[in-house]
Symmetry: C2
Subunit: 406 residues, 2 copies
């Protein structure tokens, strides 16, 4: 039994290839590297039927993941998150069928667990002992915890404004944690210096090729959970954009395996905040790369990324899927967060709420059509962002009596 | 196809029975009521095989749940949480096989989601429009969100010292939320007054019979995830104790169905903090009920329950399973929380950490024997308790260089 059908790494810009038995970062041309699988061989040996016997986590797709020896697997039970029907909120938006992929229901409370699980597992397989990364919070938290489970030492630098709870996750797991008075791009510069030490493995976004493979499993799960029919539209809150690139890659691979009904590809939507919308600007101008967004600011901290290294891959996925890129206002993010909780009982993170806002906007503009099936990615649990909720709560004394509600 | 094999409610104290087609609270004798199923009929028609085709959530056990019409189901995708192997921490404790049932990986971030999902669903089936409860935080959060999804109006009263993040979950979902300058017992008295209004359904712990059925699914899942072999010992952090009562009830039902290997029952351990240990005191004295614990205090807020209404059921389960009750120190809770994160990459809640501390203590005392299989319940995500982690993090300026680690 072949556990993984990985064949090699390749550069999506210059097509150069690399082997998978040693560590690689960017291509010599500066582009991120992607993982290739022997899909022809896999299409012969793998069946959907086989999934029925497997546990409900992302490792059920191990043939399409880069890990070659299952004994290197570093898992906290991540994956197969709920694909939840949201009929009330869907009605409110006049969307025919609205589902949410809830990435709050995962170890560490955010979708970053997927990239960390697969990335750390592969790092262990490659003999890595130390790793380092800049983060807007959730990725650092996830990589710290998975690194602890793998006995790998992580160095993490995050902006002082990143969600406070993610500091706890790094600190409690024993990571080398630093804050920086600046943005993730400032953290990135500090890490770039640190990883000149050859003993420290750089796991910055897309600077190692395996995180995207973990993120890819969101696409695989959406396909399986929709009975391989896939929705018409998928909306994804886009910072570094690895999840969107991953979902696109996943569905392309399923198409090549012949597992997807009618070979269809959902229209992929990159959602950003008006306070940090480099991908949206590039898309509106019909360009294939983005410019650095000056003075970026948004409460949806995970998508505060002024220049994504994989911007060209995000834009490529958006163009090729006939998708779009859309920016939403800060006030609409808070509104949608509250609507989702009050109408559907789900407490989503601001990034997820941004995607609901984008769905509403695109339906209003009729870009989303009558009766279409829409899936929104909620990338994390609302509980990680306590400051987004307004609290004005009456305080009683013991023995007080509640007034009858009118 | 019969969706549920529920037959009636019964009183575990005086054996009086009640029907399930209308709302009931306590028995006329004052005891909580339990749900009975027609296990004889079910053992003929239900097979383990049928589970393979079902989705990975707690509704896969619908025959053993009280909901009669699946259209009343209120779900956020809860259940089938990971049963994680913890080999490093197990070695550190000299425990042969240590697993953790991770209830942090569930909607609302705590095991309270199970009781709320089943309790709110059944409340909807019974036509409830408003509900009310006192809470130490997580239950109120879960019931608020599930009630929102069911369009039921919740009234929640929680102590001012309850975890702050749980306030957000109540508030964002639109619950009627009140704080009280006191303990959960003070909140309980306020709710007792409020529910004299016949339109308000009292869902205080064990005052409605269905929450326990949701909690029961932890036991069903542990059985399925261990291949119906079950561990030797299960440790559970005990406040109201509904989870422990539920796990015991679940395994008893599986025994009657003949699904459990050798008909075995794990030894059930009720874990409390030294700052609030009424069940432990009662168990040490060989009694069947507990006394109110004066001036209770513990950082593991979920188990700060000075007198549990179901104490006699908890003690019964502990006695009949040859289990025990054990109290742990506050300092050991913080130590175990950090150990679990550093050794295994899992950020558990203080209540979960208390159970690890108890496991270590019971192994040291040789109550847990050489090579035994131990399952610890982590009842929630560590991220809901940001104040338990000590943070002392260096702050860098953009352009700073990290010192090389020695």
């Amino acid at each position: 039994m072949t556990y993984s059908y990985i064949s090699h790494l390749y550069c999506p810009k210059c097509s150069k290839t690399y082997c998978t038995s040693e560590t690689h970062h960017l291509c010599t041309c500066g582009s991120p590297l992607l993982v290739n699988y022997d899909l022809e061989a896999l299409s012969v040996s793998w069946t959907k039927e086989s999934l029925k016997e497997r546990s409900p986590d992302l490792w059920r797709y191990h043939e399409l993941l880069p890990l070659q020896d299952p004994s290197h697997r570093v898992t906290l039970g991540e994956g197969m998150t709920p694909l939840l029907s949201l009929p009330v909120l869907g009605d409110d938006m006049n969307i025919g069928r609205l589902d949410m992929k809830d990435e709050g229901v995962i170890p560490t409370g955010s979708f970053k667990a997927r990239g960390a699980a697969v990335g750390v597992s592969k790092a262990r397989e490659l003999g890595v002992r130390e790793l380092a990364m800049p983060t807007n919070g959730n990725a650092g938290a996830a990589w710290s915890l998975y690194a602890a489970r793998a006995s790998i030492i992580p160095t993490i630098v995050m902006p002082v404004d990143a969600p406070k709870i993610t500091r706890n996750e790094c600190a409690v797991s024993g990571a080398r944690l630093f804050l920086v008075n600046g943005l993730i791009s400032d953290a990135g510069r500090i890490i770039s210096q640190a990883v000149k030490d050859p003993d420290i493995y750089d796991v910055s976004t897309l600077k190692e090729p395996y995180r995207i493979e973990g993120k890819k499993t969101m696409g695989l799960e959406i396909a399986e959970q929709t009975g391989w029919k896939l929705p018409d539209v998928i909306l994804y809150p886009t910072g570094g954009g690895v999840g969107l690139i991953g979902i696109y890659k996943a569905i392309r691979e399923l198409q090549q395996l012949g597992w997807v009904e009618d070979g269809r590809m959902p229209r992929l939507v990159a959602v950003q905040s008006e306070g940090c919308a480099p991908i949206v600007k590039a898309w509106e101008e019909g360009r294939t790369e983005s410019d650095f967004w000056e003075n970026s600011e948004t409460m949806a901290f995970g998508i505060n990324v002024p220049k994504a290294i994989g911007d060209f891959l995000v834009l490529d996925a958006v163009y090729k899927s006939n998708g779009c890129a859309v920016a939403v206002s800060e006030s609409s993010i808070l509104e949608e967060q509250q609507r989702a909780a009050q109408m559907e009982g789900t407490f989503v993170c601001p990034e997820g709420a941004a995607s609901f806002s984008a769905a509403r906007k695109l339906r209003r503009e009729n870009w989303i059509k009558d009766g279409e099936h829409v899936v929104v990615l909620n990338t994390g649990a609302g509980i990680k962002y306590p400051d987004t909720v307004n609290l004005d709560i009456p305080v009683l004394q013991p023995g007080d009596v509640l007034e009858k509600k009118v």
